[in-house]
Subunit: 374 residues, 2 copies
């Protein structure tokens, strides 16, 4: 039955909640086989958005059917607004209407929006059902598919409501990424670069040498996804619920979230990965300004992001609103604030990031004022 | 500051999620002290219903204020319909509006409805905040305050949506129970009896000797609550997520849920504890009929429930609808069904319950037909 080459397997070690991420070209063909082998007897509700479903749902459902897995499909509108209480209720209600049991699985076929929403629904229906991710964006394959974070947005902010709910299996088909718009692939690549910049200088160097091959597809892309998943899995295994070192994964994200918020999460202006790219560049320049990071390392990080076609300066983001006040306000509101103290991920150089727990707001303000002055 | 006697402390052992249940008369007076000692620096959102808030909220808020805990109050309508998606959103939104952080606490002041709803909100706001229970019903003190089950109802059934979210602290003031209607106290007592019937024959005997004293209040009541919490804590510690032995806690509940469902969850007809009482009596008689349980044990279990003023037969429930078809349909729908097989808690005698995983539907049908024939 299986015609694709054997996938690369990355294990996320979380005790009783451990799971495998399978990564490879053409994996969607064999999804049913892998599902049935690991969740014998389970039924499936596949959740997708209309755009992704039109491209990939038939293949996934056919593969599940070949493996004898009873499955139905629920399609939702594409876009960030789908991460709402209303759509959460829709998914939960469908799970209950199908009389799925705890041992059955919700299968998320899509990017981060579908994964976050479906994982949350799986986490609360019957107080927790099984969950399988089939991420179809690079961002989802290297980031949201690892770590069990699920959630929706609230009118008061993004991802403010959710649970930690680990999947039972992740199937990342790297061929599927060929259907992504170039801009979305680039945005996901920002998160790949992030793993190098956090604590893997060798991986960063490898990315410098292999960027074009990764964008083209083939074995370099599989390796980039696998290395990213391994990097995130190592962090998550040490800190499942984000109480400590997992904060390193937020490199570039405090700045990035503030930028996304000021841009009103308008994807025409800024998508998440682009915000992270600018945010990582800012984190490196801020670290250099504080005398923590050699100038040449900050330059090299920024150069690689630019070579990938990613923005690295606030001025590159179209539209208005990027004032010092707006940015400082957003940073103070960031949900990763702990008891009022500002936590930032800074760096001592390429691949030498660390958690700085008491960044002085004055220093941050002075730095951002300079950046905005351009 | 503290004037009440030292409370009894019951530890729920769940590794990093372990917590204490403090039990004693007048404990509400000292709630702030205990809260601040265990959650230093945390702020609180107290969630209650209007009935309970009118009786007890002032005392709790004053105690928190004396201990220097910043707290605000959210009151919701009383009754089971409050366990809805809409009210869940209300609580979550208030948590976010107050800018409470993960280390702050949602405090549930009320019975099972408020505890289940607030615990669920605490479990999903910011992907999990701290949670403190101040149970004000006997049922909540001996059952829902132990084990971390939270949730709401769906139009498709009760408690079908929720999470496991352990509290950081439980404060059970046994004096508060004096304000309960007699019928509600009795209904809670059914769950106390349950712990004896599951696997504590000595406790069951002690209840036979001390029932009147427990209803009157005083040390026997504290001991009954503490022993119940210890019993549930022991089961929960062995099976946090209800994959195995925790099922024993459902003694009387498969029948009970079916009866509640047929009675349309109308509290004028049947409240949960009464359903459990009839359900436990049915489980004992069914076990006797299957030749598993000595007749005298079934009689003694039933006699104690009746002595406490609790119903033990389906015919005692007012109203129509208790047909064999309706009951069998509800039992088949019970959310504790695993992959289609009927799981029942049966018993070999007083305090000798066990999980029966393949009860023949025919035997069950024949037994219920006889019961309904009277």
């Amino acid at each position: 039955m299986s015609e694709a080459p054997s996938p690369v397997s990355v294990r996320v070690e979380l005790g009783a909640r451990s799971y495998d991420i399978l990564i490879g070209p053409g994996l969607l063909q064999d999804a049913g086989h892998h599902f049935a082998a690991r969740l014998p007897g389970a039924r499936a509700l596949v959740v997708s958005d209309r755009t992704v479903a039109a491209l990939h749902a038939d293949r996934l459902l056919a593969s599940l059917a070949r493996a004898g897995v009873a499955a139905t499909l629920l399609t939702l509108p594409p876009g960030e607004t789908t991460k709402s209480f209303d759509h959460l209720m829709t998914v939960v209600d469908r799970i209950l209407a199908e009389r799925l049991e705890r041992g059955d699985a919700v299968v998320a076929l899509g990017g981060g929006v579908i994964g976050d929403l479906s994982g949350f629904a799986a986490g609360i229906a019957r107080r927790g059902m099984r969950f399988v991710q089939v991420p179809t964006s690079l961002l989802a394959q290297v980031d949201s598919s690892v770590g069990g974070k699920t959630g929706i947005n609230s009118p008061r902010g993004k991802n403010l409501v959710g649970v930690f709910h680990q999947p039972a299996l992740v199937l990342a088909d790297t061929d599927v990424l060929d259907t992504l718009p170039e801009r979305e692939f680039r945005a996901g690549y920002a998160e790949v670069v992030k793993y190098g910049l956090i604590d893997r200088p060798d991986f960063f160097e490898w990315l410098e040498a292999n960027r074009a091959a990764i964008f083209a597809g083939g074995p370099a892309r599989v390796e980039a996804v696998a290395a990213s998943c391994r990097a995130k899995a190592a962090v998550v295994a040490g800190d499942e619920r984000e109480d400590g070192d997992r904060a390193l994964l937020n490199l570039g994200h405090t700045f990035g979230h503030a930028l996304e918020s000021v841009a009103r999460y308008d994807p025409a202006r800024l998508v998440h990965g682009e915000g992270v790219s600018v945010g990582m560049a800012l984190a490196h320049r801020f670290s250099r300004r504080l005398g923590l990071c050699p100038g040449q390392d900050a330059v090299r990080a920024e150069a690689h992001l630019r070579a990938a076609g990613l923005p690295t300066r606030i001025q590159e983001i179209p539209g208005e609103g990027f004032t010092l006040e707006a940015l400082m306000d957003r940073i103070a509101q960031d949900k990763k604030v702990t008891r009022g103290s500002l936590t930032f991920i800074l760096t001592h150089g390429l691949g030498r990031s660390f958690v700085a727990r008491d960044v002085a707001p004055e220093a941050l303000g002075a730095f951002l004022a300079e950046e905005l002055a351009g």
